[in-house]
Amino acid sequence: MSPTLRARPPVIVMCAAVIVVLIVGAALLAPWIAPHRESDFFGVVWGPPSAANLLGTDNLGRDMLTRLIYGARNTVGIATLTTAIAFLIGVTSGFVAASVGGWVDTAVSRCVEILLCVPVLISSLMVISVLGNSIPVLIGTIGILESTRVYIIARAVARTVTVREFVSVARLRGEGLAWVICREMLPNALHPLIAEAGLRFSFIFLFIASLSFLGLGIQPPAADWGSMVRENAQAINFGLYAPLYPASAIALLTIGINLLVDRFATSQARPGGHAIEI
């Protein structure tokens, strides 16, 4: 462990960690900590903050804080699952392509490059227009599209590892491809991949929130931060701040994760794992 990690992190990084832990905790413990039930109505639309409704009520008169806490579940849960899928596909194909090389590498890389040429939003809108926007379709589509971004990083990292002596030694010992990748290469590529996982999660999280905001992501009545912004958007014309609560929740979580990743990346001496965005 490097000395910089052991030193006390700056205040802003501590704040970021607290925010992330709070939101993940809220997502996990939603039924126990939420002040009301998800679909309790209080009669007043966009009611002001009060003792019963700490953040006021939403466009149908439901408690904003409760909806936010339950929304954390859907939004964070789906983003986590999607990131896991993107990583499973991206890292596997990246490592296999880098260690097998030859025409496999060329073929996969060319396909990925074509997919990378289209922004994720545009390609997923195309898929949604055909398949509809059920949650499995969303997770599958975004997972596969984002895995191309993971592939680029994973392949670049794997290429630097695959030429090291201990990998050649393992190959000469006659170990299989899967063994070499899991036991020799992955442990040595973990740091850049973890940093990438944090960044990729915040991209996917923001992306799903944007889709929901456009009305094409997670559908009501499920509480979800992106669609909560959409549902409450009209309030702003009356000078009310209702859409800002879910929007700030989204912003806080991504800022928190990005600050942590920034800290993690700078505390690692090893370069690599730069983000390919969009």
Binding site: C117, P119, L125, S129, L131, L206, N237, L244
Partner: protein, 324 residues
């Protein structure tokens, strides 16, 4: 190779890059077309809903030409697109080009204004914070830009609406444009969307300008320039900036490409009648020809910007003039 070959090899690189861009465009058009056609959903079924009779399905497939082989339909679609004919909208029955073109104009105005404002601002601020690395200005821009990279476009949009429309009352909160508006009214209407887009792309360009400048600053020839006794601003502007130009241009293009995506969300926030909102509406209606046309236009803009960026980077960077 001698000096004579410089021009020849550089223009060959440029032509190669442009050709690659064209090839990518064709590949993308095929991907968009076959991708949307091979997916298991059926346009005819989506159009008619659950209760469609088999005869009705057959008739509508016949009318839309869905019974012909996919490659034939692709070639017909592509030749139509090249002639400016994007087909007919499923929802309205009107021509796609007629619906798309006026909105595309609106979107271009928005993106162009945002680009013209954000690029010089980002490069200027990036150079300024690289010049005073570690200073209070540098640290402030670093934190602020990390934050604005992390927040969604609609958050920035709504915060601006709360401040400038709801509280100060200076600007309208919706950017509805209609033909009867004067130029001043139009500009007032699109000020907030443009500001949002500028803030969305500014931070990333600023950070990359700063970091590519600073990575050049750690090379020996810069140390040499300092040892000659030059002051910091001369070193940054005259010695470091030309060599940092290629990555900066690449990031600028990437972000202008990002405007293409960001514009979709921003148009929905401000109810601006642009191509992005049209695409979102037609995805919700599952109006495939319209979605394909919008997707192709957005993707083509994105690829075009990236191709231009690579070509400018080749022109600007002296090292890229000689192929390795």
């Amino acid at each position: 190779m001698g000096r004579l070959n410089w021009r020849g090899s550089m223009s060959r690189l440029l032509v190669q890059r442009a050709g690659l861009g064209l090839l990518t465009l064709v590949a993308i058009s095929a991907l968009l077309f076959f991708g949307t056609n091979m997916l298991p959903g059926d346009v005819a079924a989506a159009l008619l809903g659950q209760q469609a009779t088999p005869e009705a399905l057959h008739n509508i497939r016949e009318a839309l030409g869905l019974n012909q082989p996919a490659w034939w339909r692709y070639l017909r679609w592509l030749s139509g697109v090249l002639h400016g004919d994007f087909g007919v909208s499923l929802a309205s029955g009107r021509s796609v080009a007629g619906a798309l073109m006026p909105r595309l104009g609106n979107t271009l105005v928005l993106a162009l204004l945002a680009g013209v404002i954000s690029v010089p601002l980002a490069v200027g601020l990036g150079v300024a914070s690289a010049m005073r690395e570690g200073g209070i200005f540098d640290r402030l821009t670093s934190i602020l830009s990390l934050m604005s990279i992390s927040v969604p476009e609609f958050f920035i949009g709504y915060v601006l609406v709360v401040v400038f429309a709801a509280n100060l009352g200076w600007l309208p909160s919706l950017a509805m444009i209609n033909p009867g508006m004067s130029l001043g009214e139009r500009l007032a209407a699109i000020t907030l969307p443009v500001m949002t887009l500028v803030l969305v792309v500014l931070a990333h360009m600023l950070r990359m300008t700063r970091s590519s400048l600073l990575s050049v600053m750690s090379t020996p020839y810069i140390e040499m320039a300092f040892l000659k006794g030059l002051n910091r601003s001369t070193v940054v502007l005259r010695h470091a900036l030309p060599n940092a130009a290629a990555p900066i241009i690449a990031v600028i293009a990437l972000n202008l490409g990002y405007l293409v995506v960001g514009v979709v969300v921003v148009e929905v926030v401000f109810v601006y009648p642009g191509a992005g909102q049209l695409m979102v509406d037609s995805v919700a209606k599952r109006d495939l020809p319209l979605v394909q046309a919008c997707g192709l236009v957005f993707a083509a803009t994105y690829v075009g910007l990236n191709t231009i960026a690579d070509m400018v980077a080749i022109l600007v960077n002296p090292r890229l003039k000689i192929p390795r």
